[in-house]
Symmetry: C3
Subunit: 312 residues, 3 copies
Amino acid sequence: MRPYAMRRRITRVLEGAIVSNMFFEPSTRTRVSFGSAFNLLGGQVRETTEVKSSALAKGESLYDTARVLSGYSDVIVMRHPEPGSVAEFAQASRVPVINGGDGPNEHPSQALLDLYTMRQEMAGRGRGLDDLRIALIGDLKYGRAVHSLCKLLGLYKNVTLHFVSPPELDIPPDIAAELKAKGHRIESFHELEQGIHDVDILYVTRTQEERFPSQQEADKYRGLFRLNQSVYTQHCEPNTVIMHPLPRDSRSEAQELADDLNQNPNLAIFRQTDNGVLVRMALFALVLDVVEQVDDHAKPVTWFTAKRREAL
Amino acid sequence: MRPYAMRRRITRVLEGAIVSNMFFEPSTRTRVSFGSAFNLLGGQVRETTEVKSSALAKGESLYDTARVLSGYSDVIVMRHPEPGSVAEFAQASRVPVINGGDGPNEHPSQALLDLYTMRQEMAGRGRGLDDLRIALIGDLKYGRAVHSLCKLLGLYKNVTLHFVSPPELDIPPDIAAELKAKGHRIESFHELEQGIHDVDILYVTRTQEERFPSQQEADKYRGLFRLNQSVYTQHCEPNTVIMHPLPRDSRSEAQELADDLNQNPNLAIFRQTDNGVLVRMALFALVLDVVEQVDDHAKPVTWFTAKRREAL
Amino acid sequence: MRPYAMRRRITRVLEGAIVSNMFFEPSTRTRVSFGSAFNLLGGQVRETTEVKSSALAKGESLYDTARVLSGYSDVIVMRHPEPGSVAEFAQASRVPVINGGDGPNEHPSQALLDLYTMRQEMAGRGRGLDDLRIALIGDLKYGRAVHSLCKLLGLYKNVTLHFVSPPELDIPPDIAAELKAKGHRIESFHELEQGIHDVDILYVTRTQEERFPSQQEADKYRGLFRLNQSVYTQHCEPNTVIMHPLPRDSRSEAQELADDLNQNPNLAIFRQTDNGVLVRMALFALVLDVVEQVDDHAKPVTWFTAKRREAL
């Protein structure tokens, strides 16, 4: 996907195809990234960005919205505040549905781009993802990107995971249990400095303030864990990769990743977002069955073979 | 339009053309459907979805907005809460304007897709639309889709219309009078069970709660008429078509079309929305003068000949 | 650009390219105009229209948003309520950023289309912009379009500027000083009738009510200067051009440009907005290095050579 993303090559493989970006929660990064990915493959984007300007506001069920929207598009990307809502929607849809985040539950495309970034970063260090040592830091309870990422990391061998969070924002026990059952090493920490020793990657997250029962409750955790260049230098191994699903909180009392890390070459956060386009392009190609074929004149052509429109 | 909508064929006939989707009221279905239709013909969509994020919020007149927007696009689709606003806008526009719904007044593209669906459904039963028997059910006062549909049905011969609504939400008298004057048979019912006998099609609508003077006023009518499979089996002729302009209300106390109808093969509501894309594609082709021409090499080519840009 | 804008010719020079329209303040005209311009050159538009539906609402810095967004697009158009915010954003971006208006500060693309329109209108009168006489009328303090326009007018020779405003809404002193330093003639007026004598162009603006400390403060200035056909006939030279950056206020108590001017052929306000598309197309071509090249078969082809994607 890289030559197309960098526009060294141009493809129209998805010409005539339409993605419906259905975002029932605020999003810039995920929404624009999916949209750009689809455009780069030659497709068009139709977007709905607020629940209040939508049929759901008139009492429509997810079932109906899914039945309808899947007649307007070849694939749907959906973000929704309710855990499980995207799966429910996908069940009713006649076209593939990609989860763009369902409340505190999952954010699988983020996990895929995180994993791809980890592979790239570790490859640059002559390593793979087996035997990886990673610290996951911050709000591990509500951080859906972390939840999805843990499922993917569990597929590799002998991973060491440091869960670094306030006790109340621990990783959900079922996720930890699943990792343990697969034989990975898990350790919990409640102090930043203790958790960031001896790992290859720091995966830092913000407090998901919008998921808390109240703002006061959320305020208690603001700024508890703050990584800056001096903490990094003092406690981390050289060349420890720094990742973050973004957005990071820039308010001075909150910064979980300080600005002085911006010059640190191990800060991979913008390589992560750049990779998001590549990974989402690949995801679209996958769910729409983009294939290479040989045309009449024996030249290979790419096309997509998704069967949606047959439902009409 | 069907092969293009199903993407068995791809067209760029509207390449270089732009539609402005101007939606000053919430809409998913109509807005996305128009947008997808334009994309499927090869054109681009520019969208404005909220009055508050628009120039109208700064006190601009419809006249000025129309003069300006018609310099940015080849055709405009507009939804607006004020009856008559779209006609006023169209008067000032230099390009064709399609009414996407003007308050309780009209919703003509919905009526066209409804009519097309009725033709398809009746054709499947070996019938045309002359001598059609149809029950229009629900909020007939504020339901603009019904208003526009009645105008179209009036063009056929010998139509029987059952208006089934609470007395306060009757069809506007001028619409009924016009149908009578053309010799169609009209009957009014205030009970669902009585109105759905002996018809070919049930056209069910939701209560247009957002049009009522107050929510309390609207609440009075919620859930008054509720069609479900058992009512259908007991009172309707076999194979009576069930239609609805959507969204249908999914709240348990309101459902005008119960979920247990989803498996009924006569439920045509999603065929309706699918057809919306076809009909809106045709509508764009019509207003933009898409024609078949013969090019230099004697192959037929399609092009559109709308003259908008000359206004520049 | 005109043949492409009028769709007499079609170009795909920006095929595969994406513009991010980032509008953190309400806009129809500027936003749609930029979007249409990009579409007319063959490119795709990704749009973010409200700060509250964006990452900035989660406390993200402009720096981060810029770093991220510039990995998703080839060029960014940004409007933001904070003066200087667009420049700060541009500093962090890896792709060109076009200022779509930064609070009361600047609105450079508006100034370019205004200048282009002035050139066209004066050319129609056999004149250039040297020795131009222009009255700038209304809220000159908060009117960013005026601020940017003055900078451009200052580049010509021997311009006469009438600043016509309530004393409290005078042009910022540094802008006046700069014009004076360049040898232009400046006069201030606090009465409309006195300021519109002996000029070639009237550039009328609305009160920027959203910039005032309070609505009451803004209300004081509503409707102070009102140009209508009778005032125009009585006080202006024949064929004085009337311009306005729009939107103009249509509320009866506010109209700075009365409706009865709509038939006046010197009212250039919609030629201005039409020209906005041309100028913004040119702007995109400029910042994306669109060039003519000769391909293998010795035919000239246009392409764009912007280097963004290399940053990936």
